[in-house]
């Protein structure tokens, strides 16, 4: 038993169990966190009735989800209706398996990774899991047999397909820069220093790709301002209109789980994962148990910061219109990321992917795209494409006369 | 030592299922789904050979197959949408006017 527990497999199993448990709690508290932040931004108190500072609010919410009547309307496609929340929930949680939580741990002489699985293709694994995420939304919306849910599903499909492209290209940029697709390797190669004090985090090389990856993570998690699939004002809640009780709760929790996965992923790719500069415990050489805990704390803190920014964005930026959403992806993000990719490829050819040239390329591309936008590139060109019809009554009457 | 046979059988069976589906079904979309099942059979076979001969070339073939599958899906679905708009049905029999 002891041997099993100190082996990589044992650590992975224990970690998987711990993470699944901890994430459910974390996801529940995300809702509390979101409500608090929303309240503060809107000059309110937020939940403060259940327990001190409302700290037990998630438990009350969870109880409410469980106790509510679970309605399965008679007009739905029952197997898919029940399957959809399960899919979205599972997909949201299996992404955590490839996140490197705390580097390596020297456990009684065994060196084990604090990671459920360390596949060669960790980067692609997360991309694949994210690709599966759309099924929950699409099947849920379709099975509800309700036109608004259906519109939500259609929108979600188009949106996720579109935003997967810039997301994939951003990830490719990181993979090219690092020459690796293993998440642990990517973290490890960000632990050096420039000029002796500046951490070699990718965000300093590719800030533009970082921002775009963050934007696409918002879109993939169906977060505001990209929550077109559940636009309450237009679609009565979109794909989860017909869901109630725990099934609705699963959709709800999955959104936050997606946010946490996305944040962890961005933190690993661009912010050095568990690495924090100038602190000896969070360096790769430190393998004691307290170092592992410190690294986990650093990664969690980075995730919390990302979550905060995501919520902050949600309570600031209004929702996009659907054509603006598509325009942003296809005419904005994809060309920019492709240009960045080409630039990175050139740098890799010259053997300097991690030099100031990368930053320079980002600046140039940012400037060019800004100049293009400022020079009159259409932002809301939809109305102008329509034929101009003189709809005034006299014109109409004149035409009949 | 010999682990190729089960994989080949699986590949052949998937391919055969795809063929039957292609012939049996009348829904245009399901017909194209059947071709995708055939692709799966081929991919399994290619990957099995790659492993058998300890060579990545089989996997490289399979990757190119994926590209072809993507091309096929893109075009086929565009065609299906076009046909659907013309006749308002997905029935393949609706397009049999050229039959003698």
């Amino acid at each position: 038993m002891r041997e099993f527990l100190t082996s990589q497999l044992g650590v992975s199993v224990v970690l998987a169990l711990v993470i699944v448990g901890a994430m459910q709690g974390a996801v529940a508290y995300c809702i509390y966190y979101e409500r608090k932040i929303a309240a503060w931004i809107q000059d309110r108190y937020g939940p403060n009735r259940v327990g001190p500072w409302g700290i037990l609010q998630p438990i009350a919410d969870g109880l409410k989800f469980i106790m509510k009547e679970d309605v399965v309307p008679h007009h739905v496609d029952k197997p898919l209706f029940i399957l959809a929340p399960a899919i979205i929930f599972v997909v949201a949680f299996i992404g955590f398996a490839a996140i490197p939580w705390g580097g390596q741990w020297n456990l009684d002489g065994h060196i084990v990774d604090i990671q459920v699985a360390n596949p060669d293709i960790g980067l692609l694994y997360i991309l694949g899991v994210a690709a599966m995420g759309v099924y929950g939304v699409v099947l849920g919306g379709w099975a509800s047999n309700n036109k608004y849910s259906f519109y939500g599903a259609i929108r979600a499909t188009a949106q996720m397909l579109s935003y997967e492209i810039p997301m994939g290209v951003c990830i490719l940029i990181v993979a090219l820069t690092m020459g690796a697709v293993r998440l642990e390797s990517i973290t490890l190669s960000q632990t050096g220093y420039w000029f002796g004090f500046l951490p070699q985090w990718n965000v300093l090389l590719h800030p533009l790709a970082f921002i775009i990856l963050f934007v696409t993570a918002l879109a993939e998690a169906n977060r505001s301002p990209f929550d077109l699939a559940e636009a309450e004002q237009e679609l009565v809640g979109g794909y989860h209109t017909e869901y109630s009780a725990l099934k609705f709760g699963m959709f709800f929790l999955a959104e936050y789980a997606h946010m946490i996965t996305g944040s962890a992923f961005i933190a690993v790719l661009f912010l050095g994962g568990w690495h924090f500069p100038w602190i000896p415990w969070t360096q790769p050489e430190a393998t004691q148990w307290y170092a592992v805990l410190a690294k986990m704390a650093v990664l969690s803190a980075k995730i919390c910061v990302f979550l905060f920014v995501m919520m902050w964005v949600r309570w600031t930026v209004p929702r996009f219109r659907f054509d603006q959403l598509m325009r942003l992806a296809w005419k904005g993000l994809i060309p920019i990321t492709l240009a960045l990719l080409v630039w990175t490829t050139v740098l890799v050819y010259f053997g300097k992917p991690r030099s100031g040239w990368a930053l320079l390329g980002n600046a140039i591309i940012l400037f060019v795209s800004f100049a293009y936008a400022a020079s009159g590139g259409r932002v809301t060109g939809r109305q102008r494409n329509l034929p101009v019809v003189d709809a005034s009554p006299s014109a109409a009457l004149g035409a009949t006369a | 030592m010999d682990s190729l046979l089960p994989s080949l059988m699986l590949g052949a069976a998937l391919f055969g299922l795809g063929v039957v589906g292609f012939l049996v079904r009348r829904n245009l979309i399901v017909i194209f789904l059947s071709t995708e099942v055939m692709f799966q059979g081929v991919i399994v076979t290619a990957a099995a050979f790659a492993r058998y001969y300890a060579h990545v070339e089989g996997q490289a073939y399979a990757l190119l197959l994926l590209v072809i599958a993507a091309v096929e899906a893109g075009l086929a679905l565009g065609l299906v949408m076009l046909l659907y708009r013309r006749r308002d049905t997905l029935d393949a029999e609706a397009w049999s006017t050229m039959r003698g």
Binding site: I37, I41, D43, Y45, I211, T316, L328, T380, S394 | -
Partner: protein
Amino acid sequence: MIRDSDILNVDQPELTAAERFYLPQIVEGMKTTIQHLGKTLLLKKPVTVQYPEQKREMRLDNYRGLHRLNRDEDGRVACVACFMCSTACPAHCIHIEAAESPWPDREKYPAKFDIDELRCIYCGMCEEACPVDAIELTYLYDLVGRTREEMILSKEELIAIYDETASVKPRKNPHVTGYPSTGQHRKMTDNPIVEDAT
């Protein structure tokens, strides 16, 4: 008939360069919201009223809350059971049963006077219809009940509400414009509705 002169053509304003690029405007907006967040956290001045503990100051010149049934100078119920209020009521929530008045100065008085506060829409028509100013809408708003029956107030309960709020003459205050007005506020204090008072 829509005339040409009625039509106002609105041109979409051209977007500025920063607006076209989204990012500067988003940063601008996020600056605003983070300022609100910081202010709320550091200065502790949220606008929320913590309701059951704190109560808002009510405007007495226009708020229409629970009904009361007034007493006249002699302490008798002022109502003369003329049915004007129940006729005027658009929600049909007032039920009156008239009886021969025990007093010489009027013919009838209400033997029963029930108001279903769940049906009532608090429009104040009853108050306007009343010829003797017997029914009035007070500033009370915190009526709760566990059953529907509890929410039907009887004559005794309505009179009890009058006893409780007799010092205030609702909406007979000078008309004020603007909000909040000066001097016309009344600090809401605990005003429990005593149900078994007669």
